[in-house]
Symmetry: C2
Subunit: 355 residues, 2 copies
């Protein structure tokens, strides 16, 4: 087991990474607020791992909510079911909510924990690569609105993240690739050396070689923890973590939630951001080709859906959370391994990238 720490003063917490952690009672015990535990999971993950998690919580009053699986269910309506369950079980303010699943489960469970009785204890047990390297760390929680992704939510830090790498064995290949998109992101925005390592190790990662996956997860969490510790509420550099996401969110919203996996949309978004970075003279044609190559090597799509017009893209991007004073701000690459936030993209350049 490897343990990192997200350094946020009184809200600091550990990220435990390793194989078989799911059922290790000693990892949960220090973070449970009281006797009552509500597990939030989904219908895909529950048959695989719910029993193992429950076995780590003996002696506690454990209830569960099993949500439908998919981004299209990350809505306020489905989210309400968590409160129905918490109140039906008469859970008090010293209960603990545990998210067992991928990004959607973690985002909804975390947002419910943030709001139940104005905030209860929360533990993330991510079971997808995407959740282990990205969404379970850093406290962003929330749900989608039909007009925009993640538009309703809270910053709410978990008390612990318990990432059991053994759960990746059951992950569909498409979701593994989607998770690798976020892993690549850390290389693109912050660590050229890691990006190079990922290029070399991509076959091993796709073959789920444990040592390769463990290193990728660990390095991803290190970068994320560092950025979150420096800027918890995204007043500045945390926005860099949204590399590829402004384009990606537009693809997800515009195509109907659930048709594209989040990581797939981010993969395309990173290609588009690289294209735009080249138009600004920051990346070379070789850099862009290399970017597309490694995203393709992760078995991710490179092009947005053909029915999403440039006009529609602009419309969807106008509600992005990084818009300030009516000005769209984008995360682009100064070079491979160094990202910046910029509000100075000429509209015709953006339009050229979109079409």
């Amino acid at each position: 087991m490897h343990t990192l720490r997200v350094d946020l003063e009184s809200r600091s917490y550990p990220i435990h990474i390793g194989s078989g952690l799911l059922s290790d009672a000693t990892l949960y015990r220090p973070h449970l607020a009281g006797a009552q535990v509500m597990i939030i999971t989904n219908e895909t993950v529950a048959p695989l791992y719910l029993k193992a998690l429950r076995s780590a919580l003996t002696g506690h009053v454990v209830h569960e909510v099993i949500l439908p699986d998919g981004e299209q269910y990350k809505t306020l309506d489905v989210w309400q079911r968590i409160f129905d369950a918490l109140l039906a079980a008469r859970f008090s303010r010293d209960c603990t909510v545990i998210a067992l699943g991928g990004g959607v489960v973690g985002d909804m469970a975390g947002f419910a924990a943030a709001c139940y009785q104005r905030g209860v204890a929360f533990i993330q047990v991510p079971t997808t690569l995407l959740a282990q390297v990205d969404s379970s760390v850093g406290g962003k929680t929330g749900v989608n609105h039909s007009l925009g992704k993640n538009m309703i939510g809270a910053f709410y830090q978990p008390r612990a993240v318990i990432a059991d790498t053994a759960t990746l064995a059951t992950l569909p290949q498409r979701e593994l690739s989607a998770g690798l998109a976020e892993v690549l992101k850390y290389g693109f925005i912050r660590d050229a050396e890691f990006l190079h390592w990922l290029e070399m190790q991509m076959p091993a990662l796709l073959a789920r070689e444990p040592a390769a996956l463990a290193h990728a997860i660990r390095r991803s969490c290190e970068v994320k923890a560092e950025i979150v510790a420096a800027d918890e509420h995204e007043a500045g550099q945390r926005a860099l973590l949204n590399f590829g996401h402004t384009f990606g969110h537009a693809i997800e919203t515009g195509s109907g939630y659930g048709n594209w996996l989040h990581g797939e949309a981010v993969g395309v978004g990173m290609c588009m951001a690289a294209n735009l970075s080249a138009r600004l003279g920051w990346l070379t044609a070789t850099d862009v080709a290399r970017t597309r190559q490694i995203i393709a090597a992760a078995e991710l799509p490179l092009e947005p859906p053909s029915d999403l017009s440039a006009e529609r893209f602009l419309e969807l991007m106008a509600v992005d959370k990084k818009v300030l004073n009516g000005q769209l701000r984008l995360v682009l690459l100064r070079q491979l391994g160094t990202a910046v936030v910029t509000g100075e993209v000429a509209p015709e350049m953006l339009r050229a990238t979109l079409s």
Copy 2:
């Protein structure tokens, strides 16, 4: 105009109290995050004060959401309409939400501001006595669930509270009395001298004499600001502000939201808490009689609805937010002017008070 300050480090904010403040543009300007402003109000308040507030915001992009009036609409479903409006108007993270109205409007608008894009600027413009002395100050926001009051919400501080005492002129008498319940609360829990002043001034307060109301609001806000500054998230003494509320919430939930005004239920709750305090030997029979007398003088009811059995009371109180480890904790009076939180009430004593 009188200005107090709620002292919460980077989240500190002013409470402005005075007549005619509603349309004073200079009070809003320092607290608006950007050009976009969303006013949340209700169908009763909008015809009275929306125009005046809008006049203070010229030069800004101002939209509004007009909610139905009443505690029965303080639900997640109605709350969603605020996000629909924010997203339809394409409001970005630098928008400002302004609550114009009573406690229900303030609680829902504040909770929406807390969650829109994970948090946007928020200003409280309370137009009821209850909101001016209590709910607009301190950052408690949220909505009700059919199984419990204020069960879903956030701690989210406004950037400013602008309490225009002239708006009290249009307040129905029943709501004035409901507000006085919360004013009396501050006397009961913290300030015997203020309680005495309130006994003397009750006729003047009911007659809405401006000087009397201004003093009552100011002293109430002082006590609240002091307690909130010491314990923002209710880890300790902030719970004292819930004097009368555990019983009161049970009455509100048990009678169907909207049938009792919050302040009315709190008035009865304070009588019940005084009764229980006497059973513990903390108050004398004279103290209890005096308590009932002043609550009656504020033209508030003294008895819970007759169809609410002791059993049902206990059931409803079991989901109170102050329950910890299955133990109901109550705010009771050591003497008039001094409250304590206690978990040591014998069940038979509580049952005697309830029946």
